[in-house]
């Protein structure tokens, strides 16, 4: 892969009049946005045929910064809106840029059903273990014992493993990386964008201001080092016991399969309907 200078990516894909972003110093969203834009650029996808969809939260502000059609919707609902866009015009490629609270808490039901249907959409999921925009409340992803403003003594709930959830619900492609995994991240997004059906790439992304500060991880680099420490490649994890995996987060490609997508299924359904009604042979 040839890596273009960042300014070329910026010039081509960002809305200059929308900058600067709302992101805090040390935030990881900008990096993941860059990976996504690089993947689009590398694949030579048509900028005018892609729609970015999002809900509410820091990462959901991304469609405002990129020069594409974009629908910045309500909290948690991005994938339901995406269902309408894709079904009404299957020629459009839909990217949903989501946060962990947005996707897995308030949007959890839309997430699992969009995956179950195998909706043709690529989800880029920023997982920073917290509600960054509203000031650091615990999320459905916050590791047990870590602090947020709504669990100041340390979270007492079990977190979701979003990647495993997506695999179980039936996604065609699921990968998880930390922001540190630059090339793997870009390659996974490229793969996801080329596949039919539901594809999801999750990134462990640093939020030093709302999350790190409360958990003795005050800066972006400290959080990235922490991710390096707690992540285990999936190939290695296979040979590890549950005890050894305690407190670790598995990264890598979780699934890569090719089940028929919602758009294809609906196309076949329309054919079946016309045949059953005697409208077509």
């Amino acid at each position: 892969m040839y890596l273009k200078p960042s300014y070329e990516i910026r010039e081509k894909y960002l809305r200059k009049d929308m900058l600067p972003t709302i992101f805090c110093p040390g935030c990881g969203i900008g990096a993941v946005l860059q990976y996504t834009l690089r993947a689009i650029d590398d694949l030579g996808l048509n900028q005018d045929e892609i729609v970015w969809v999002s809900g509410i939260g820091c990462s959901s502000r991304v469609p405002g910064y990129v020069d594409f059609d974009g629908l910045h919707t309500t909290h948690g609902r991005a994938l339901a809106f995406a269902t309408g866009i894709k079904m009404a015009n299957p020629d459009l490629k839909v990217i949903a840029f989501m946060g962990d609270g947005d996707a897995a808490a308030i949007g959890g039901n839309h997430l699992i059903h969009a995956i179950r249907r195998n909706l043709d959409v690529t989800v880029i999921l920023i997982n920073n273990f917290t509600y960054g925009m509203t000031g650091g409340q615990v999320a459905p992803t916050t590791p047990k014992g870590l602090k947020g403003t709504t669990a100041p003594y340390g979270s007492f709930e079990n977190p979701f493993d979003i990647a495993e959830l997506a695999v179980a619900a039936g996604a065609n492609y699921v990968a998880r990386w930390s922001v540190f995994n630059y090339l793997q991240g870009i390659n996974s997004i490229k793969k996801a964008l080329q596949k039919r059906g539901f594809t999801l790439v999750e990134f462990l992304s640093q939020c030093p201001i709302s999350f790190g500060r409360r958990n003795r991880l005050k800066t972006g680099p400290e959080l990235i080092k922490w991710y390096q420490k707690i992540t285990v490649p999936i190939s290695k994890a296979k040979n590890m016991s549950p005890e050894e995996l305690e407190g670790k987060i598995v990264i890598g490609e979780f699934v890569d399969r090719d089940r028929p997508s919602l758009i294809e299924e609906y196309k076949a359904y329309k054919k079946r309907a016309k045949k059953m009604m005697g409208w077509e042979e």
């Binding site: 005018d48 729609v51 405002g64 910045h72 339901a80 809106f81 995406a82 079904m87 009404a88 016309k274």
Partner: protein, 385 residues
């Protein structure tokens, strides 16, 4: 174009079925819904017809997702609709506000049943009037149509799409379990007899730059739908004419919201629709809408037979509300009555409209049964005694 139901002909069908057929004739090609009594028949009819006319009908995980998908489809260029009843209507309030804020054309049918909560799922009510008008949070305006017959349910569905597209706004078709489940004769016109409206699209790059600006001076911006190279950014945040978020500038918010409200309110003359019966010399004026208007009509006839000068104003649109019309009628009336299946909702609008020029009474009925004409007659005669 082949249709999976009779066109240019009459048929004997339910209100729900009529709404589905009319939507397809109006050009609706996207439907998303969630099962709920007494609106499920709309969804079932859409599921039967949509694949045959190359449209989409999809069952979402809930009503929040249903209206979300409809808004997404509308931005992808489709005429789109969803239908529900009370509990689902409550869930839709969130994204109804998003549709108002982003000026997304769509039709939302509410086949009203008794509430609050699960209430009486199979029985009719008119308890969602205020929710239809004011249910979503924040200042706004939208359009609410109220059919009284199955034919009106059909005709008003087509009108709902036309108004939604013309004014780039969500339109609510507020009907009820009686109209929805009742079977009546309905004439479905040939498609070429219909006048259909499709949203204004930008005619050049310059226009496309202002998806939320009054570029034509008619308060309704052209809609740069997705996939045409416009690179439109749509957000529920307060935004300027280009669609850029401007969340702390008072003047941007005021300008946006006042335009969204004005495009409906300033076009009241075009949108408002009503019928009158024996109103010219009426001393007693009944005001009603939906299924109850049919009882009210009969009550007026009975009262006239007994020498009481009664008349009817039947509202086909309850928002925008023609306060001036009510005041004009109040000037010539002795007494006005609002008959509705709730504890008084339209009543408050009428009272405001009457502006003290006539006394306004409420003839209320709840519990799932429509007022009988006799009940209305008795109440009025009692008051006159």
């Amino acid at each position: 174009m082949r249709y999976p139901f009779p066109v240019g002909a009459a048929d004997f069908i339910q209100g729900d079925e009529a709404i589905a057929r009319a939507a397809i004739l109006a050009g609706c090609r996207f439907y998303a819904g969630y099962p709920i009594t007494p609106a499920s028949e709309i969804f079932e009819a859409m599921s039967l017809y949509m694949p045959l006319v190359d449209g989409v009908s999809i069952q979402m995980e809930d009503e929040i997702g249903s209206i979300a998908a409809v808004i997404g489809a509308s931005w992808a260029g489709a005429k789109a609709m969803t239908a529900t009843s009370g509990p689902g209507f409550s869930l839709m309030m969130e994204n109804l506000g998003y549709a108002v804020m982003t000026e997304t054309p769509l039709v939302l049918v509410n086949v009203q049943r008794s509430g609050p909560s699960t209430g009486q799922p199979t029985l009719a009510a008119q308890g969602d009037v205020m929710q239809a008008i004011w249910g979503t949070h924040g200042d706004h305006s939208l359009i609410v149509l109220t059919p009284a017959t199955v034919q009106e349910a059909f005709d008003m569905t087509i009108r709902a799409f036309n108004l939604a597209e013309k004014y780039r706004t969500p339109v609510i078709l507020l009907t009820d379990a009686e109209v929805g489940h009742m079977r009546e004769r309905v004439y479905a016109p040939n498609p070429d007899e219909l006048e259909l409206v499709y949203r204004k699209l930008p005619v050049n790059e310059e226009e496309a730059k202002y998806p939320f600006g009054d570029v034509h001076g008619d308060l309704v911006p052209p809609m740069p739908i997705f996939g045409k190279g416009y690179r439109t950014y749509v957000t529920g945040l307060t935004h300027d004419e280009r669609g850029r978020p401007k969340t702390v500038e008072a003047e941007v918010h005021e300008k946006l919201i006042k335009r969204i409200v004005a495009k409906i309110e300033n076009n009241k003359k075009d949108i408002v629709d009503y019928e009158t019966y024996e109103l010219d010399d009426a001393e007693i004026v009944l005001i009603s809408f939906g299924i109850v208007a049919r009882s009210a009509m009969r009550a007026v006839k009975e009262l006239r037979k007994e020498g009481i000068k009664a008349g009817l104003l039947k509202l086909n649109v309850v928002w925008p509300f023609d306060f001036e019309l009510i005041e004009k009628i109040a000037e010539n009336a002795e007494r006005m009555y609002v008959a509705e299946m709730n504890l008084g909702q339209l009543y408050h609008l009428v009272k405001e409209g009457a502006n003290g020029k006539a006394e306004v009474g409420l003839i209320s009925r709840i519990g799932g049964e429509v007022h009988t004409p006799g009940e209305i007659v008795e109440r009025i005669k009692n008051d006159l005694r």
